[in-house]
Symmetry: C2
Subunit: 493 residues, 2 copies
């Protein structure tokens, strides 16, 4: 239905985006917020037609998509508020001390937009991490123009959402090129977008191989640029004995739901459960397998993902000394996904790095450790993760403090007695993590701090008040919180 | 006098640093501050012996070195205060809303230390950007252990300062491996340090080729790591007509001093002066050349730098249509540096990218533009810069607003009616800039915000108060400013 844009069209789009950047980057915070809120309204105005198109394109059920649409609208509105509040600007003022030797000049600093941003839509969040998703919203908040490459798994959804953005720009009489939408399934389109000299940052949510391709292209440019690629993880869950003993059935229920949520197609899906060899671990394992088998999961997003799930699951099951706890009918695997729980000893897990790889879908692996030392070794062996979870009483936690430290050092978010799925959109959220969970562990892709990905500091030295941006003027006309001579304040000077 | 460490010694040092990190990363903010202040005291205690050793190793005069030592001590003390104040932690608390559907959990986030940091000492700042310089101080403030590779141009100075750090650790009975000092002039040592898997970030101030070697090694690792390389720039100065007309002599005096300050061996040295063709530009040019010739500059840091200055200057002078305004005696060039002012038309400058390259030393190039359009084209042609300066009245500024915008988009600090040399150590400073001025335009290497280079966010979800780090506990026992449900406050919850 949609054909790839040509490389010429990519380059022409980036030139238009750069041209629009020169005006949009000077839009006030409140103008940017106005745009973001208008986009939210126009998406809402697409109504049920959008939902039904996306259901057809993604196999996702109506309730999930309505929830995700709500989240996308919430993101746009709450990031718009954060944009106006201006904390993300990190405004700093150091006033002059003329009598100092040498004299200290007046210096003021704030974050300024980095330039045109390329956003790659993700397949598993057709709204919240696609066309008008978190990356687009935060780039617009930062004052950057955006070029989106639609995900080929939901091109029509993407086209509709792009139409809503264009309408918002139109209603507000803002330049259309603030936002440009391109269709393209080929690697060549992605490469051209990343390598175009106008592109100044890249946002991506998807596979490790996809993210690393973008990262490498970006670093091979004559001017390297930041790539914010969220590449998923296995989100290890550590089951400590006192907690597990207290109520194995409740934990099994909780995790059966988390593993199968959205057919396991979440980057925070718990793909690894690590416990200590014990009768209660066996009890838990049996309960979890039973519950997983009772849950009827839906279809996966598209055939490619379903096929990948099948292949990756079989690869895991074919590894030496990996056993399958759920009953898997070969036939069923070949058609639509069924939840799979596998089991392996700590010793085998430590020897086979392949067992650490993500199986995208409702798959989890229980690692049975013979003692705490082996559990610590397993924790130490893990690559960077988006999340890690500890199912632990306070006593478990303090008795295993050194394991908790190792776990914390490997992830971006550490959860106590909960599930990793469900990423709250709020300022304290960190969604990201040490490599390879993301290409830049210093930035989140969820929450208003994600705006900072698309900005860089600029210091103004010895500027008269009239020539300073409003954010840094003495009177603080925007009423933002600034650090003045090291003290945070929203007062004027 | 000093031989390179072996690759085995590099790897052994990184293992020790990683081991020390597991304890140092848990040191409280006040313990870190204590260490930094103790280092400052021990450097002071080295007294005049340190100064005389450095004078011998670097050719820098006593007054300059005493000033730089004072700055180094100030950095350690002021970053220690900033470390304790904790603003850099970006502590965020989003409290739970159990009645929300789904329930919102309690989430709290702060920056945590990234891991062992490798610091490469710079040649032009033997104290302030070497062994116990800004990179080391901010890494220690962030809670990271540090491995310093001494700059081979001042190994004895570096050894003495390392001794002061070791003594501070000893006095405070802290693990010696928090700081490790290595000598090494070869690329192999640098490469082994960057590629070692324990290394989690790199700080560097120096040449483009040196910085890019580190950057590429870091990105070729199986786990890429951030490199904060400050690689210098030509720091363009735009001379606008009304301002220049008002007092060409004063501006010529100011710039003659700035160009020759520290024998031009500052990364913020003004290497490019851009003006509009006019009689007053001729007047200014004559005055500047005359003043430059009156200034007796000292010896350069080492023979390699002097030789490079000679070669680079001659290369510039050999370019078509570049004229030399100062009288350069070939003999003098061959021995010790003399300040050089060259001149070129805007047209020639735009055609020859080589003219944009930095000549490290007391060298500057005047670009004569035929009109404002050509000046805008010159501004647009520039690569990323640490600083840009506008010599402009308010009327000049507003009449050239679009040129000012272009200039601002290319640099990390924009100065009005001043000189780029002299980098104030304060919170509002940004020392860094778009590539190739630095490898990461989002981070400063001067001012307390530089601490953030060596930290990453970690979110704690659903943690009971007792298990949270002090920085995030309800009572706010450290009294730091935190954002609680989007509102900055230092109150307890």
């Amino acid at each position: 239905m949609y054909t790839d844009v040509s490389i010429e069209q990519v380059n022409e789009a980036m030139s238009r985006s750069a041209e629009a950047f020169s005006s949009y980057s000077k839009f006030s915070l409140s103008q940017r917020a106005l745009l973001m809120k208008a986009i939210a309204r126009e998406i809402e105005a697409l109504g049920d037609e959008l939902i039904s198109v996306t259901m057809r394109e993604t196999n996702l059920p109506e309730a999930r998509l309505k929830g995700e649409r709500g989240r996308t609208i919430f993101q746009l509105n709450s990031y718009a508020d954060a944009c106006e509040r201006g904390d993300w600007l990190e405004a700093r003022i150091t006033t002059a001390i003329p009598e100092k030797v040498p004299p200290r000049p007046d210096i003021r600093k704030m974050l300024v937009p980095i330039g045109p941003v390329v956003v790659f839509g993700s397949s598993n969040f057709p709204y919240a991490y696609s066309t008008a998703g978190g990356d687009t919203a935060t780039a617009l908040a930062a004052g950057c123009t955006v070029v989106v490459k639609a995900h080929p798994a939901h091109p029509e959804t993407s086209e509709m959402v792009a139409g809503a953005i264009r309408k918002a720009l139109d209603v507000l009489q803002m330049p259309q090129d603030i936002f440009i939408h391109l269709q393209g399934a080929s690697f060549a389109v992605g490469e051209a977008l990343v390598r175009n000299p106008h592109t100044q940052a890249v946002g991506f949510t998807g596979s490790y191989s996809g993210g690393m391709a973008l990262f490498n292209w970006a670093n091979q440019r004559s001017q390297p640029i930041p790539v914010f690629a969220e590449m998923g993880s296995v989100n290890p869950v550590f089951l400590f004995p006192e907690k597990l003993e207290a109520d194995p059935a409740a934990i099994a229920q909780m995790y059966a739901e988390s593993i199968t949520l959205g057919v396991g197609q979440f980057c925070t899906n718990p793909g690894l459960l690590i416990g200590l060899d014990s009768p209660v671990l066996d009890t838990f394992k049996g309960m979890l397998a039973e519950k997983l088998q009772q849950i009827k999961v839906g279809k996966m997003l598209h055939e490619g993902i379903a096929k990948n799930y099948q292949q990756k699951s079989l690869l895991m099951l074919s590894q030496p000394d990996v056993s399958c706890i759920t009953s898997v009918s070969q036939d069923v695997i070949n058609n639509s996904p069924e939840p799979i729980l596998t089991e392996v000893s700590g010793e085998v897990f430590l020897k086979n790095p392949l067992l650490q790889e993500e199986v995208f879908g409702p798959f989890s692996m229980l690692v049975r450790c013979k003692d705490q030392d082996e559990m610590a070794a397993v924790a130490r062996s893990l690559a960077g993760q988006l999340t890690s979870t500890l199912m632990a009483t306070e006593h478990d936690y303090t008795a295993n403090a050194s394991i908790a430290d190792i776990i914390a050092s490997k992830c971006g978010r550490i959860i106590l007695n909960g599930v990793p799925t469900g990423v709250e959109v709020c300022q304290a959220m960190h969604h990201g993590g040490p490599f390879p969970a993301s290409t830049d562990s210093r930035y989140t892709s969820v929450g208003a701090d994600a705006i900072k990905r698309f900005a860089r500091p600029l210091a103004f030295q010895n500027y008269p008040d009239a020539l300073l941006p409003d954010e840094l003027k003495n009177a603080n006309p925007l009423g933002i919180t600034r650090s003045v001579n090291d003290i945070p304040t929203s007062q004027s000077l």
